[in-house]
């Protein structure tokens, strides 16, 4: 493929592969393409300026800086929040530049949409499992162009054919004459050459880095505490604030009595905004003590009586009486004859609970503003700061940082907005750190969903009609209103519901929009639309298999005959898990789920045990993954392992509930996380594939729910259609507890006898 570096990708070339791939990949990505956004792999002139990388003699595009000393700095368009994005992006650039990963220095990109927007998301944003899909072509092109220029400069100096030169670890060689030169030595000369119009990327057979389990670029500083997150930064003269916003959504601050807070050693100030108060101290502990000593009066506002019960009542009502927007229609589902089944699924609001609580350091001055934070949307942080301070966007600098988890939370800049609102009241740099309690109480929650799903089975047990009506709020409508469909459709709401891996002759998928009350904010959560839809679709497929009297894995296999990649992972997982082989103890069951989220194909099999009292234990899990070319297989496996645990955590324990308009959960004591002792043996098997890379960061989370719930059904015969898991519904029977007590009594008696 040929690329002109002075044209934006995705706009001038409507048929370029990355766009074509993206279009195949479903809702969220397609939605954002409607915005027409696009990262420009800009020429030299436009690229200079935003990054100060010291000596950067050679800067052919926005991503690469080579100094005369040979130092190579790579600027990362997608941020690092643990998913391995920096290592993946650096691998793509280093691969084409023939460098070792140890030879490059990675840098956070500055806020700059023109240079660093992700065309799949229409903004400078990291999310939707898009990084490698977005960078696969863009960064390899950028790297290949840089290499061509550097080699071209050396060849010109030597007066030889560039094609006769080779590069290894940043050293250019001309074998016939035995000459060699480092990248640094030709950086100045390469900078004088015109950026080539045509660059050839490597063939897969030539990959030296891609596909290897290379060590991540960011981990060395994470084993000795030296790598700093934004919460760790200290800037001269800064003070530390911690915040309490009105616990009731949409409520306001009325009055604060700070007389007790002023007695706290290290107290500095109390700052107020419309709906929150900040206590400022010389250090966090002083700020926290002062905050706890404030007597605050709130106006609880219009949501003071809002509750989870009301939320689900409203959703159910909207599902029945609202206006459905068509998402997919195949054939005609009405009047199809056969065995009819239907079910209702209800999914809760969820918090992100990143390990690093929300924080930012903001210094507002008359002439500008500096923001140190870890954000998935740096340019949006500039937008809100400009809006609040009245400063020009050019005078606002976002110093992005490594993130202690993102999971979608840091796609929302509300904490930065709040920090700016406080910081503009003071002259010193203000470091705002939320407590865990504040983090749980003021998240952008994964939407709650109410799904009605129905199917009709033919004589052979296969679905001949499939109807799925989803009812929920819309994240997309607030995050990127321009990406909503002309008919009002939110493509994220139906992603992986409208595009299931099976073929149904008659199918209807629709969405009813039900907005949350003012002040209750929804957000992207790891797995986005698919994390909801795959749970419902794959749970219901399991219901259909059992209704048809078939093995749930065989049932899926029958219906995946035209989908070789889905079939491939299904068969691989079945083989590795030993599906159908051996016998399992009582109340132990295996569940399977298969899906194709984010352009990848996964099948997960979970083996779970349910105690007579309804306690759930995951015994073993097997994941088979076909994500196309794995840029780093070790990272792919890590994302699937971690993604599964993220999903199981929510399945086992999570659900944000609201009472009197406020979140009822506070901290990890009542918003529990899965722990190591609950983690099953977990295998990940990657299919060797030559397909273009699919997304991976969210896939495990998507698969976790249905595989586990199907296992619980296999173990107990109880179908759960909501979470967190209702242990009471899984209790074996009224005699279960009695049996345990009898056994315990017997054991105690035996022990007593033994002692006597």
């Amino acid at each position: 493929m040929n690329v002109r570096f002075d044209q934006p990708l995705g706009e001038s070339q409507p048929d370029n592969p990355s766009r074509r791939e993206a279009l195949k990949m479903g809702g969220l990505v397609v939605a954002f393409l409607w915005l027409g956004g696009g990262a420009k792999v800009l020429g030299r002139a436009a690229a200079q300026g935003p990054v100060a990388a010291g000596d950067s003699a050679f800067a052919p595009n926005a991503f690469i800086r080579v100094g005369t000393d040979g130092a190579v700095h790579l600027v990362m368009p997608s941020i690092e929040m643990g998913q391995g994005a920096y290592s993946g992006q650096a691998t793509l650039l280093a691969e084409e530049m023939d460098l070792g990963l140890d030879q490059v220095v990675v840098e956070h990109a500055p806020a700059n949409r023109k240079l660093y927007a992700n065309p799949l998301l229409g903004d400078q944003a990291t999310g939707g499992s898009t990084t490698i899909r977005f960078c696969w072509t863009t960064l390899r092109q950028a790297g290949a162009a840089a290499r061509a220029l550097l080699v071209g400069a050396a060849a010109a100096k030597w007066k030889v054919d560039p094609a006769q030169c080779t590069v290894a670890r940043g050293v250019i060689r001309h074998e016939t004459s035995g000459r060699s030169m480092g990248y640094g030595e030709v950086a100045n000369a390469a900078a004088q050459l015109p950026v080539p119009e045509k660059v050839q990327e490597k063939d897969a057979a030539q990959f030296a880095l891609i596909g290897k389990p290379l060590r991540r670029v960011d981990t060395a500083g994470k084993v000795d505490g030296s790598l700093q997150f934004s919460i760790d930064l200290r800037v001269p003269d800064m003070k530390v604030a911690t915040v309490k916003a009105c616990p009731t959504f949409g409520g306001k601050l009325v009055a604060v009595d700070d007389s007790r807070a002023r007695q706290v050693p290290g107290f500095v100030a109390v700052l107020k905004i419309d709906n929150a108060v900040a206590a400022v101290g010389e250090h966090f502990w002083a700020a926290k003590q002062a905050l706890d000593a404030l007597d605050i009066t709130w106006d609880h506002g219009p949501n003071a009586q809002y509750s989870t019960e009301q939320l689900f009542k409203d959703l159910a009502e909207a599902s029945k009486h609202g206006t459905p927007i068509p998402g997919k229609a195949v054939g005609n589902v009405d009047g199809v004859k056969g065995k009819a089944l239907e079910a209702t699924y209800q999914l809760p609001l969820l918090a992100h609970a990143t390990m690093e609580p929300q924080n930012a350091i903001v210094h507002v001055r008359p002439d500008g503003c500096d923001i140190w934070t870890g954000t998935q949307v740096p340019a949006r942080c500039v937008d809100v700061a400009a809006k609040l301070t009245g400063l020009k966007p050019e005078s606002i600098v976002v110093h992005n940082q490594y993130m202690g988890g993102g999971f979608g939370r840091r796609l929302f800049e509300d904490p930065v907005e709040q920090a700016v609102a406080f910081a503009r009241q003071v002259s010193y740099p203000l470091k705002m750190v939320w407590t865990r309690e504040e983090d749980i109480a003021h998240d952008r929650y994964r939407p709650a969903y109410y799904d009605r799903i129905a199917a009709t089975l033919g004589d052979d047990g296969k679905p001949v009609a499939w109807t799925h009506r989803i009812t929920s709020g819309s994240v997309l409508a607030t995050f990127a209103p321009g990406a909503m469909g002309k008919n009002g459709m939110d493509s994220d709401a139906i992603e992986c519901a409208a595009d299931v891996p099976y073929e149904f002759p008659n199918m209807k998928v629709e969405w009813v929009r039900h907005d949350m009350p003012e002040g209750v904010h929804l957000g992207w959560w790891r797995g986005v639309g698919p994390v909801h839809n795959v749970f419902v679709v794959e749970s219901f497929m399991d219901e259909l298999a059992h209704a048809a009297g078939k093995d749930p894995l065989d049932y899926r296999r029958e219906q995946l005959q035209k989908n070789p990649r889905a079939l491939g992972v299904l068969n691989l997982a079945a083989e590795k898990a030993g599906w159908g082989k051996g016998s399992l103890p009582a109340r132990v069951g295996r569940g399977v789920a298969v899906a194709a989220p984010f352009g990848s194909y996964l099948c997960v099999i979970v083996e779970a045990e349910v105690s007579p009292q309804g306690e759930v234990k995951l015994r073993r899990a097997v994941a088979a993954v076909d994500c196309g070319i794995a840029v780093n297989p070790n990272t792919v496996a890590a994302q699937v392992q971690g993604g599964l645990i993220f999903g199981w955590t929510a399945a086992l324990y999570n659900g944000i509930t609201i009472k009197h308009g406020a979140v009822e959960q506070h901290n990890f004591n009542d918003y529990r996380m899965m722990r190591i002792n609950e983690t099953p043996a977990l295998e990940v098997h990657l299919v060797d594939s030559k397909e273009a890379p699919g997304g991976i960061g969210e896939t495990g989370t998507v698969m976790a729910f249905p595989a586990l719930f199907n296992a619980l059904f296999a173990a107990t015969g109880v179908r759960l259609r909501s979470y967190p898991i209702d242990r009471a519904a899984l209790v074996q029977g009224p005699d279960a507890l009695k049996a345990v007590i009898t056994q315990a009594t017997d054991r105690a008696a035996a022990a007593k006898e033994g002692m006597a």
Binding site: R216, R234, F284, W285, Y402, A638, F668, N669, M674, I676
Partner: protein, 183 residues
């Protein structure tokens, strides 16, 4: 009131309220930010440090109760054999994702291995169950501790970035499974 502590072998003297948790002394007074704040109520383990070699949650430990004690933090754990081995295994098995909880994980693991050089899986789970990882790195934490304990490679290792192999296996399933048969 001046408090004296030995931190990573160095004498430190500072003024702090007696009820100030050690976590905030480390982070905000001494500028040692490797120890993390995650919950403030001893539920997540991100703030784990060693006091006299034992793992404790520094977010609930008033510094006034520690006068004269010896503290080890993530910045100094490499000085102990167990700590250095844990850090190496963490990198070899690519345990880390976001890394925010990993200071605490490494401190808990180093304390476990110093006290129990060959822990069983059950002992690993007990010792590490106080440390939450939101990225879900538990599988690899377990493997990395086993790798230190056994001295054998128990799972796929990262390749050194300095000299990547030229040959990559093709046409085969690449499995991330704990190697069986390693004690």
């Amino acid at each position: 009131m001046a408090t004296m502590l030995t931190i990573n072998g160095e004498q430190k003297s500072f003024d702090a309220p007696a009820d100030m948790p050690l976590l905030w002394v480390l982070r905000d007074i001494l500028g040692m930010t490797g120890t993390k704040y995650g919950c403030g109520i001893a539920q997540c383990g991100a703030c784990t440090v060693h006091v006299e070699g034992r793992p404790v949650r520094s977010c609930v430990l008033p510094v006034g109760a520690l006068n004269g004690r010896s503290i080890t933090t993530i910045e100094g754990v490499a000085a102990s054999p167990a700590g250095a081995k844990v850090q190496k295994a963490w990198l070899d098995l690519e345990v880390i994702q976001c890394g925010y909880c990993q200071s605490g994980q490494i401190m808990s693991a180093a304390a476990l291995l110093a006290a129990t050089p060959e822990p069983s899986d059950a002992e690993i789970d007990v010792a590490m169950s106080g440390n939450i990882c939101r990225c879900g790195t538990y599988v690899r934490i377990r493997e990395a501790i086993r790798q230190v304990a056994t001295g054998q490679k128990v799972a796929p290792q990262t390749l050194p970035n300095e000299a990547p192999n030229q040959a990559a296996a093709t046409g085969q399933v690449l499995s991330f499974v704990r190697v069986e048969g390693v004690a």
